[in-house]
């Protein structure tokens, strides 16, 4: 058994751009370019980038919601980049995703008890109705929600509670690997810290391996062991969190870190609005 659970090599993804003419051969737009990353078993990798950096696409490739245009994805030593839907199915139980917006990713018409155990049912791991209720209650307990929530609908929950339910659903099949896409960015500070610490605890308790996608470096620092910085589909820098934060090597990483407003009064932070720092966003019209 290798100690790397997920490894990508030369991973790329492109989609055809809408061309000027419907008959023209469409140009391909590269969204993810040549990504080589390794996620050791039991570790958490942060994928950081700004909007349009390709971080969500990379996450979706890792859970094989998308098929790579080229390159490889190895999961637990086996190549999964080219597997078809049927061949992927047994692996789906081991690979899960938690989505950004629990409001739209939980079915509003189903009680939580049903949502949480649906995958167990699909994989034939339920022994009747009472078992489903028990398992749902266990999952709720795992993420710190009252077990009585099995009969609740998503709209009856607060934002933080819904995100906990999203986490519980991803844990139902006891996966080895979870990709979490911006799962705390919509939450208030007071709930965000609770969800982050919950993930930290679950990870230690269940030995989870995770990829944590975020635009927020501060949040990544709380949860991740390693971090990869993405820009325009490419990894510009990656390594242990402590190293990247204390001595960033790449210019882009430095500019990201410098742009984070820490909650300290820092005279001069707004001053260097020289033309140089404004230039790159002026760019041209999109």
């Amino acid at each position: 058994m290798s100690d790397i659970l997920l490894r990508t090599a030369g991973l790329s993804f492109a989609y055809p751009e809408r061309g000027s003419s419907p008959f023209a051969r469409p140009a391909m737009r590269q969204v993810v370019k040549d990504v080589d990353l390794a996620v050791p078993r039991g570790s958490v990798l942060g994928l950081v980038g700004e909007s349009g950096s390709g971080k969500t696409t990379l996450g979706r490739l890792m859970v094989r919601l998308l098929q790579p245009t080229s390159g490889s994805i190895q999961f637990d030593g086996a190549e999964i980049g080219r597997l078809g839907e049927v061949e992927m199915r047994p692996l789906r139980a081991r690979i899960q995703m938690i989505f950004q917006d629990p409001q739209s990713s939980l079915n509003p018409r189903l009680r939580l008890g049903v949502t949480l155990t649906r995958q167990l049912k699909v994989f034939g791991r339920l022994k009747g109705r009472q078992d489903a209720r028990d398992r749902a209650a266990d999952l709720l307990e795992l993420v710190g929600l009252p077990t009585g929530f099995v009969d609740r609908y998503p709209h009856e929950l607060s934002g933080g509670q819904r995100q906990r339910a999203g986490i519980a659903r991803a844990l139902a099949l006891q996966p080895d690997f979870i990709v979490a896409d911006e799962i705390v960015s919509g939450l208030d500070v007071s709930t965000q810290a609770h969800v982050l610490l919950l993930l930290k605890e679950l990870r230690a308790r269940l030995g989870l391996t995770m990829v944590f996608i975020s635009h927020d470096l501060s949040v990544v620092r709380v949860l991740c062991d390693d971090v990869a910085i993405l820009k325009a589909g490419e990894v510009v820098e990656s390594g242990p969190v402590e190293r990247i934060f204390s001595s960033p090597q790449h210019e882009y990483t430095r500019s990201l870190l410098a742009a984070i407003p820490l909650p300290d009064v820092e005279p001069g932070w707004l001053d260097d609005a020289g033309p140089a720092s404004i230039q790159h966003l002026q760019g041209s019209a999109a």
Partner: protein, 296 residues
């Protein structure tokens, strides 16, 4: 120095009579000329409602049940509607949160800025267009002449937010309500937008009430700050003092729960649920006192 804006004991309720929910429970905020004041709170704190009440843009089902809003010494709530409207966009302007939905998608950028200028300042079409171009240059948009003729969907999110900032400063207002203007932006763009707002504030001499949930943004741009929870002011003061020595337990808890890129994970302390519960029960106690007609 006399405040340019003085909100006193403002109460706002939302919903039908008998089922109304209070969103502001006696909030008071002062903004002095040329000052940037942060109005900080989490969702449901009432911070956006306070901004909208000042602008006279509360939702149709919201009512101001008590309090006063004085702008440059005149009570906005006692002012006849046409007079108040003249102030809006001219003396008091808004930088809205969402650059995607706040511009008219079927009108060119230049025409939208020019409309503000000709409405409030009576500029001719040609003058307004020329001034709109100058404003775009002022918000660091390259080739302003070309951007004037583009539609909002043809420019990036950061540029759209710049256009909205240009519109807010267009008539040299003395007060700007900035409602989470950088929340939807990436950090690098956010920094540039904050730098831009600060530069324009200095050159135009406007005061800003900066509504945000982000203590980092407050630390960087606001001289003073007000912490709001459940429609009540829990703490206010100089930003440097409040962040270094928060007096209210809620402010302390918020600071401890904010992840920081410069500190290890172990430093993070979530907000104790008991604290939030006690704050809400205090708010509901005040509601019951008010319902019974007793002073709080």
């Amino acid at each position: 120095m006399t405040a340019i804006l003085a909100v006193r004991d403002l109460h706002v309720a939302i919903g039908r009579r008998g089922h109304a929910a209070n969103v502001l429970r006696g909030a008071s905020v002062d903004v002095e000329p040329g000052e940037v004041r942060g109005l900080v709170g989490e969702s449901g704190a009432g911070k956006s409602m306070l901004g909208r009440a000042i602008l006279g843009l509360l939702p149709a089902n919201a009512v101001i049940t008590a309090g006063t809003i004085a702008f440059e010494g005149r009570d906005l709530l006692a002012m006849p509607e046409p007079e108040r409207r003249k102030l809006l966009g001219r003396r008091i302007a808004l930088i809205p949160q969402d650059p995607m939905t706040s511009l008219n998608p079927v009108r060119r950028v230049g025409a939208q800025i020019a409309a503000v200028l000709s409405h409030h300042l009576g500029l001719s079409k040609r003058q307004a267009r020329a001034r709109a171009g100058e404003l775009l240059a002022e918000v660091a948009i390259r080739e302003p002449g070309r951007v004037l003729d583009l539609y909002p969907h043809e420019i990036s999110g950061g540029m759209r937010q710049r256009v909205l900032i240009a519109m807010a400063f267009a008539c040299n207002p003395s007060l700007i309500i900035a409602d989470e203007p950088t929340t939807a932006l990436d950090v690098t763009v956010q920094r540039q937008v904050l730098q831009l707002v600060e530069r324009l504030r200095q050159s135009h001499g406007a005061a800003i009430l900066f509504v945000t949930h982000d203590l980092g943004v407050v630390a960087k741009i606001c001289r003073t700050m007000t912490v709001l929870h459940a429609g009540r002011v829990l703490e206010d003061g100089m930003t440097a003092d409040v962040l270094a020595r928060p007096r209210h337990p809620y402010t302390r808890a918020l600071l401890a729960a904010t992840p920081r890129a410069d500190r290890p994970a172990e430093a993070l302390r979530p907000v104790p649920p008991a604290l939030i519960e006690s704050l809400w029960s205090e708010a509901h106690r005040l509601d019951r006192l008010a319902d019974a007609g007793l002073p709080s």
